[in-house]
């Protein structure tokens, strides 16, 4: 195994990591807005799923991936409004609402998909403009043959779908919004101490609805990415637990945007490794593919247990806000 071979394998692995991490990252940031405002959301999975389906269907019918994205986000936002209605307006249990949303998406996508296309819930394959194309960054082709930097720039950084770049741009944007704007301060405050925000004359209900809507929008983008960028159609249970991995990443990141990116890249890397090298033979023993797949969850439990740095969720998370009367 010479250096160039190892290098090209590394590039391929990291390239795949970026693709796989994108969906986790966008979903993770979606959860970040919601949970920072005090609304637990275990329904990321369901919102992504419904968006993946609606995006694929709309893209197929109109022939435009962007229209698909728009419809997907719309569907996801409707789901997030249901969650908002249950957990903010009617002060219901946020976890139960999340479970319901996940069930609803699993069921609806197949029932409607089957009624429309009759293929057991699959949507027809998307072609041409109905899928997102790759973006080639400037000079990518010219630099391709430069050693080391060439492959890194041309293969790793350039040549991704637009949503990949949007996803990674969302990280600094979220950081800025959360920690450098008045909106962000208020958002964090309703998640920690809603009474204080209320006392300052700001509507807790409105802040939380805003956060839940942003969460819906981002889940919509993440779901749309799955079916119109990464894949070329919708398949049943397409999200395959990614909503939960995103949730795990959020805890891993301790509800902070930059750390969310690192966590998602790490979990994306694990997924890429398990795709590219199913069983890793270390000579003495073999690391089974299931271990690599379960590692994000195991790491999250370890982090939650506080053995390696403590993850403390927003203080008012999961509690409906009742104004004193």
């Amino acid at each position: 195994m010479d250096f160039l071979h190892v290098f090209s394998q590394l590039i391929a692995t990291f390239d795949s990591t970026i693709r796989l991490a994108t969906v986790l990252l966008i979903a993770c940031l979606a959860g970040l807005y919601s949970e920072r405002s005090g609304i637990f959301d275990i329904g990321l999975e369901g919102k992504m799923l419904i968006s993946a389906f609606v995006s694929a269907a709309a893209a197929y019918e109109t022939g435009s991936a962007w229209v698909g994205l728009l419809f997907g986000c719309g569907a996801s936002i409707i789901f997030s409004l249901i969650h908002g209605l249950a957990s903010i307006t009617f002060r219901g249990n946020q976890l139960i609402s999340g479970v319901a949303i996940n069930f609803l998406a699993s069921g609806l996508t197949v029932v409607i998909g089957n009624a429309w296309y009759g293929k057991g819930g699959q949507t027809p394959t998307l072609e041409g403009a109905a899928r997102f194309g790759e973006i080639t960054l400037p000079f990518a082709n010219a630099l391709r043959d430069v050693p080391l930097i060439g492959p890194i720039y041309s293969d790793l950084i350039s040549g991704h779908k637009p949503l990949v770049y949007i996803g990674f741009l969302l990280v600094p944007l979220t950081w800025w919004l959360l920690f450098r704007t008045r909106f962000g301060l208020r958002l964090r405050a309703v998640g920690e101490n809603p009474e204080s925000v209320d006392t300052a004359g700001i509507s807790v209900v409105r802040m939380r609805y805003t956060a839940v809507l942003i969460c819906g929008l981002l889940c919509g983008i993440a779901g749309s990415y799955l079916s119109t960028s990464q894949g070329a159609n919708f398949g049943r249970e397409m999200t395959a637990g990614r909503g939960y991995i995103a949730l795990a990443a959020l805890i891993f990141a301790k509800w902070r945007p930059w750390y969310a990116m690192y966590a998602c890249l790490l979990f994306g890397l694990l997924e890429a490794i398990s795709n590219l090298y199913p069983n890793i033979d270390l000579g003495l023993f073999v690391i089974p593919v299931q271990f690599t797949q379960a590692l994000p969850y195991i790491l999250t439990v370890v982090i939650l247990a506080g053995f390696v740095g403590k993850a403390i969720p927003p203080r008012a998370g999961g509690e409906p806000y009742v104004k004193e009367r």
Binding site: Q94, L108, V111, N114, G121, Y244, A294, V301, L304
Partner: protein, 373 residues
């Protein structure tokens, strides 16, 4: 004074919520161009129209009684066990291991086999709940998140074992070899035949249903008739008050979750031992999550849970019939939609029904009070 009479809370609200869920589900059916009333009739007939229908309905209900009780026990101590899925999954291992590796003289009869399997299922189910419980009690990590993670880890562990060590080499699919014939649990057909009742031979309903009913009675006794149950409920009502009363928080959390996990694990008796007679992948099929809905609808009371479990069992079985009757135009995932809507309306949107009802009862009561003055 309560805002409304108890019967309204226990009967009226669930019924209204249920109706709302069915109306919403009917709208979905109508939206895909089918007749919702016809669909409902098909489901009811499929679930209750024959002994085979009953056999499937009660078979699924058995699963939901176990997982519903599991969620309810935890609810009483204000713990949300969303990990029934994983606990039942791992409990499948607790059933399979004694069946596959015990020498045949230790499994002479199904009653003895049942003892081993019950021990295995409860031990493994409780074991899988033990780590999240310990982490919640000792390290303060949120039990909901850890049990979700443990569901997913359970999936990976079972996938690994069933594709490797435990795999039946003679088949392509990830499953173990068949359990010994002596371990066969009596089916409803076999149990009812001596009484001259000809119950469907094909239905998977088996002895585990009786165990589920027994478990419901035991849970009732535990929660309302023992010191432990009292402590659990006190802890659930107010953790700080319970602490001042000298109730050990760590112990209650641990014991409650162990009982909860063991109950969820009993599902494996019904499916793995009773129906499949081998360990397969994905045998839990979402029953752990349905348990949440069952417990919500049943107001965490065993009687309510048994009734709600039968309702959900009927839904699952009726959903299969949709597929045949509508010639694939309604897929069986319609069941998921209905379950989701029931969870939504009875659980998360409970106050949607409760607020107006409370207001109504208060208004009804107001003139009566004025007279008594």
């Amino acid at each position: 004074m309560d805002k409304m009479p108890r019967w309204a809370d226990v009967v009226l609200i669930p019924l209204i919520s249920l109706s709302l869920a069915f109306v919403a589900a009917g709208l979905v059916v109508a939206a895909i161009g089918e007749n919702p009333f016809h669909a409902l009739a098909v489901m009811i007939k499929g679930a209750f129209g024959s002994t085979s229908g009953w056999g499937y309905t009660l078979y699924y209900a058995t699963n939901y009684i176990f997982t519903g009780l599991a969620v309810a026990v935890a609810f009483h101590a204000k713990l949300f066990n969303i990990g029934g899925e994983g606990q039942a999954w791992v409990a499948g291992l607790g059933v399979a291991l004694p069946m596959l590796f015990l020498p045949s003289w230790l499994v002479p009869h199904w009653t003895i086999a049942l003892v081993w399997c019950t021990l295995g299922a409860m031990l493994f189910g409780a074991g899988w709940a033990a780590i999240p419980a310990y982490l919640q009690a000792k390290r303060g990590s949120h039990i909901v998140i850890t049990t979700i993670m443990f569901n997913l880890i359970a999936g990976a562990v079972m996938g690994y074992l069933l594709n490797g060590w435990l795999k039946n080499p003679d088949t392509q699919s990830a499953e173990t070899v068949k359990f010994p014939a002596a371990a066969h649990l009596p089916s409803a057909h076999e149990m009812l035949a001596p009484f001259g009742i000809n119950f469907s031979r094909s239905a998977p309903l088996n002895f585990a249903f009786i165990l589920a009913l027994a478990a419901a009675v035991l849970v009732w006794f535990l929660i309302w008739r023992t010191r432990m149950g009292y402590q659990m409920r006190a802890f659930g009502h107010s953790e700080s008050a319970a602490r001042y009363a000298g109730i050990p928080a760590v112990k209650i959390t641990l014991v409650t979750m162990l009982i909860s996990g063991a109950l969820a694990g009993m599902l494996a008796i019904n499916v793995v031992m009773g129906e499949q007679e081998r360990l397969i992948r994905d045998f839990v099929e979402g029953a752990g999550f349905v348990g949440i809905a069952v417990s919500l609808m049943g107001r965490s009371h065993p009687i309510g849970i048994v009734l709600a479990a039968i309702l959900f069992g009927a839904l699952t079985q009726g959903g299969f019939e949709l597929l045949f009757e509508f010639n694939n135009r309604i897929s069986r995932e319609m069941v998921l939609v209905i379950q989701a809507l029931i969870i939504l309306f009875t659980g998360a949107l409970d106050n949607l029904v409760r607020y107006p009802l409370e207001a109504m009862f208060l208004r009804l009561r107001a003139p009566a009070k004025a007279v008594s003055k």
